[in-house]
C-alpha cells in the first residue's frame, strides 16, 4: 500500500445553473493572454450537447485516454515508437476549428469612425489573424441551452435514443462544468515525449513544465477530456493548474470560489498508488467501484500510519478525515467520475442531476407518488444517458445515487412540511437519517469551510530557501512574440 494524497473537486450537477461565472473567473486569472484566448481551463457545457471542443468525447476521432490491451494498459493513440514517428505531424491533434477562432470586437470604431449616415458598429475580428470576421462561427459555449437541437444535442454521443430530445414532453437539459480532472492515471503525462507533464507527488495536481515543453502536442489529444491546450503563440501546451498558487495556501480554486450555485466541493482524498493500474484494467461497468476501491479510508489507523510513512502531514490527514469529497465519493457514494471508461481515473467527481425534477408528460400524475418528486423509474433524465456519462454504462451505479438524492428530497420535504416521513424510502436508498441530514447540509447550507477543506501546504517551512526562489508566479521572461 503506497498511500498518497490527492486534492479533488466534486460538482453537484443538480445545482449548476450554467451561469459560466467559473469560466470567467478562471479566464480572468489564467488565460487572458495572447495564444490562450481560446483556452477555457474551466468550461460549462450544456448536456445533451457536443461540448467544448466539439465532440471531445469522440475517442475514435481524437484517440484520447487508455485502452486495455490484454492484461496491460496502453494509450489509445499510439505507443512510443509511433509517437516518435509522428512528432512532425500529430495526426490526432484537435484543430482550431474544433474549438473556435477567438475573436474580439473593434470597439475603437465606435468612437473613431468617420461621420456617416449609419451608426458605427464594433465589428468582430480574429484574435489570431487580426482579420475581420463576417460571421462568427463558434464560441466556447456555442450550443448553450440548445439541448433540443438537432444540430448540436443530437450529436451528443451519450444520447443513444435521439427521439428523447425531439419532443417537449421528454426533453431534458443539464449543465456539465469541466476542469482538468488531475487524473491518477493521466494519459497526457504518459504521452509527452519531452516529459514536460508531471503529477505533483504531494497533492496530485498535474502540470506542464513550461521550460521543458517543446510543443510536440501529443498531450492535447491524449487527454480524453481535451483539457490540455496548445498555446499558438508560445508553442507550448497549457492546462488547468488547479489554481495551485491559491490551493497551496489553503485558498479555494477561483472557479469553486466564484461559483454562484455553490455546487463545488474541494477536499483531500487518500489513495493507494499501487492499486491504480489494476483499477484502470477493470471492465467498463466495474470502473466506478474500482475508483472507490482505490480511495482509502482516512480514519483507518493502518492507512494513517502508511500515509505518515510517505510524508503526509497530520494536517493533511485531518483534512482528509474532514473531507467533503470523501463523504460524497466514498462514504455516501453519490459522486461519480466523468467517463471512467477513458481509464485515466479522473479525480473530479460529479453528483448526477435529477434535473429537471420532472417525469415525462404522460406520467405527470405519478408525480404524486412522493409528493412533488417523481420516482426513479419515471424520472425524465434517462438513466442510460447519465450512465454513459458517469458510470461507464453501469445503470445500477446511477440508480443507487439517484435513489439517494430522491430519498433525501422526500425526507427533507416531509420534514419541512411537517408530514410523516417515510423511513423505508431512506433505508431502500441505503441511507439513515443522520446520513440524509449530513448530505442535505452539504447540498444546501454548508458554508465555505464545510464545502472546501483545503490544508495549506506550508511550503515556507519546506526548504525555505528554495521556496523563496520560486516565490510568486507569473511569466517574467518573454516568450516569442511577446504577448501580455
Amino acid at each position: 500500500m503506497d498511500v498518497r494524497a490527492q486534492i479533488v473537486m466534486v460538482f453537484n450537477l443538480d445545482k449548476c445553473i450554467g451561469c459560466h461565472t467559473c469560466s470567467i473567473s478562471c479566464k480572468n486569472i489564467w488565460t487572458d493572454r495572447k495564444g490562450a484566448e481560446y483556452m477555457w481551463w474551466n468550461n460549462v457545457e450544456t448536456k445533451p450537447g457536443v461540448g467544448y471542443p466539439r465532440q471531445w468525447e469522440d475517442q475514435e476521432r481524437f484517440k484520447g485516454g487508455w485502452v486495455v490491451d490484454g492484461k496491460k494498459l496502453k494509450l489509445k493513440a499510439m505507443g512510443k515508437g509511433p509517437t516518435l514517428a509522428n512528432m512532425f505531424f500529430q495526426p490526432n491533434m484537435p484543430k482550431i476549428e474544433d474549438y473556435y477562432e477567438p475573436f474580439d470586437f473593434d470597439y475603437g470604431n465606435l468612437a473613431g469612425a468617420k461621420e456617416s449616415k449609419d451608426q458605427p458598429v464594433a465589428e468582430a475580428f480574429s484574435q489570431i489573424s487580426g482579420k475581420k470576421i463576417e460571421e462568427i462561427q463558434g464560441g466556447p459555449n456555442w450550443d448553450d441551452d440548445l439541448s433540443g437541437s438537432q444540430v448540436y444535442a443530437a450529436k451528443d454521443l451519450n444520447l443513444k435514443d435521439k427521439k428523447v430530445i425531439e419532443s417537449y414532453d421528454s426533453m431534458f437539459m443539464q449543465y456539465l462544468p469541466r476542469i482538468c480532472n488531475h487524473c491518477l492515471n493521466p494519459a497526457c503525462v504518459a504521452s509527452c515525449p519531452s516529459r514536460a507533464l508531471y503529477k505533483r507527488g504531494e497533492d496530485g495536481i498535474v502540470l506542464v513544465d513550461q521550460e521543458v515543453c517543446k510543443g510536440w502536442r501529443f498531450c492535447t489529444s491524449a487527454c480524453p477530456y481535451k483539457k490540455v491546450y496548445f498555446n499558438w503563440n508560445t508553442g507550448k501546451a497549457e492546462k488547468c493548474i488547479f489554481c495551485y498558487p491559491r490551493v497551496e495556501t489553503g485558498q479555494c480554486n477561483a472557479c469553486a470560489h466564484s461559483c454562484v450555485g455553490r455546487i463545488r466541493y474541494v477536499g483531500v482524498l487518500l489513495y493507494d498508488a499501487d492499486a491504480v493500474e489494476a483499477a484502470a484494467l477493470k471492465g467498463d461497468a466495474e470502473l466506478v467501484e474500482a475508483h472507490r476501491d482505490v480511495i482509502l479510508d482516512p480514519r483507518d489507523p493502518e492507512v494513517c500510519r502508511k500515509a505518515k510513512e510517505n510524508g503526509i502531514s497530520d494536517q493533511w490527514l485531518d483534512a482528509a478525515a474532514a473531507s467533503p469529497v470523501y463523504a460524497l465519493v466514498k462514504e455516501y457514494r453519490v459522486a461519480l467520475p466523468l467517463h471512467p471508461e477513458f481509464r485515466t481515473l479522473p479525480m473530479a467527481y460529479y453528483i448526477p442531476s435529477l434535473s429537471p425534477v420532472l417525469s415525462t408528460w404522460g406520467d405527470t400524475h405519478k408525480l404524486l407518488e412522493h409528493g412533488m418528486i417523481p420516482a426513479l423509474e419515471t424520472l425524465r433524465v434517462p438513466i442510460g444517458y447519465l450512465a454513459s456519462l458517469l458510470s461507464g454504462g453501469n445503470h445500477a451505479v446511477i440508480e443507487e445515487a439517484l435513489k439517494k438524492l430522491i430519498a433525501i428530497r422526500v425526507q427533507m420535504r416531509s420534514e419541512n412540511l411537517g408530514l410523516p416521513a417515510d423511513p423505508q424510502l431512506l433505508a431502500d436508498a441505503g441511507l439513515d437519517e443522520a446520513a440524509a441530514k449530513r448530505l442535505y447540509r452539504l447540498f444546501t447550507v454548508a458554508g465555505y469551510n464545510e464545502r472546501n477543506v483545503i490544508p495549506p501546504q506550508q511550503r515556507e517551512e519546506n526548504d525555505p530557501e528554495k521556496r523563496r526562489q520560486e516565490g510568486g508566479f507569473g511569466i517574467l521572461k518573454k516568450t516569442r512574440g511577446g504577448g501580455k
Binding site: V189, P193, K199, G201, R480
Partner: protein, 223 residues
C-alpha cells in the same frame, strides 16, 4: 579570399555561436525553446510539407554525419559500383522529397493569413536557408555525380581538419561554386541554429523511451 571566408571564418564562427549561444539560451530562457508547431492553425498543407521535409532530410543529414564519422568504412562500402549507384539514387530521391517539402512549407507561410502572427523573421530565415540548402544539395547531386563517394575524399578530410583546428582548405578549395554555396549555407544554418526554432533538433527523447509512463515530481527528495 572567398575560400578563406567560407571554409575557415564561417565554420569557426558557426561553431563558436553554437557552443556559446546554445547553452546560454538553454539556461537563460527556455520558454522560447520549442518547435513552434503551427499545426493547430493550419494542418492541410502542413501534412504534405512537414512529413516529406523531415523524412527526406533526416536520412540525408544522417548520411552526411555518418560519412564524416566513419569515412574509412564508407569508402569501402561505396567501392562497389552497384552500391554506389543505389546509394546515390536513394539519397537523391530523399533530397527531392525534402526539397518538395520545404518549398511547400515556404509557400504555406506566404499564403496563410492564419499564420501571419506566428511567423517571425527567424522563421523566414530558417525556411530560406533550408530551401537553399536542399536546392544546392539537389543541384550537386545531379550535376556533380557520385557525391557520396567524393564527399568522403574532399569534404570529410576538410571537416576533420576544421575540428582538429588545423584547417586545410586545399581539399575543397577548387571545387565548383555550387559546392561552396552548399558548404557556406550549411555553416550558416549551424550558426543560426541557437537563435531560431531550429534548437528543437537538439533534443532526443531518450527519457521518454526508458521512463515509466507516469512521471511524478516531489517537492523534497523524501520519496
Amino acid at each position: 579570399m572567398l575560400n578563406d571566408l567560407i571554409f575557415i571564418a564561417l565554420p569557426y564562427a558557426a561553431i563558436a555561436l553554437v557552443l556559446l549561444v546554445t547553452p546560454y539560451r538553454f539556461l537563460s530562457n527556455r520558454l522560447t525553446w520549442s518547435a513552434y508547431s503551427t499545426q493547430f492553425l493550419e494542418r492541410k498543407i502542413l501534412y504534405w510539407g512537414i512529413n516529406p521535409w523531415h523524412y527526406g532530410i533526416l536520412p540525408i543529414l544522417l548520411a552526411h554525419v555518418l560519412g564524416f564519422a566513419f569515412p574509412g568504412f564508407f569508402k569501402g562500402f561505396l567501392g562497389n559500383q552497384q552500391t554506389l549507384f543505389a546509394t546515390e539514387s536513394v539519397l537523391f530521391g530523399l533530397g527531392a522529397f525534402a526539397l518538395f517539402g520545404v518549398l511547400l512549407l515556404l509557400l504555406r507561410r506566404v499564403n496563410s493569413g492564419m499564420l501571419k502572427r506566428v511567423t517571425f523573421s527567424s522563421d523566414w530565415l530558417v525556411l530560406y536557408l533550408l530551401a537553399f540548402q536542399a536546392g544546392t544539395g539537389i543541384y550537386i547531386g545531379y550535376f556533380m555525380r557520385w557525391g557520396s563517394q567524393w564527399y568522403l575524399h574532399t569534404a570529410v578530410p576538410y571537416l576533420w581538419s576544421i575540428v582538429s583546428f588545423r584547417p586545410q582548405i586545399e581539399y575543397v578549395a577548387d571545387l565548383p561554386l555550387a559546392f561552396k554555396l552548399h558548404v557556406a549555407c550549411a555553416f550558416l544554418i549551424v550558426a543560426v541554429l541557437p537563435f531560431t526554432k531550429l534548437v528543437h533538433m537538439l533534443y532526443l527523447p531518450v527519457d521518454f523511451l526508458k521512463d515509466p509512463p507516469l512521471l511524478y515530481r516531489w517537492r523534497s527528495n523524501k520519496q
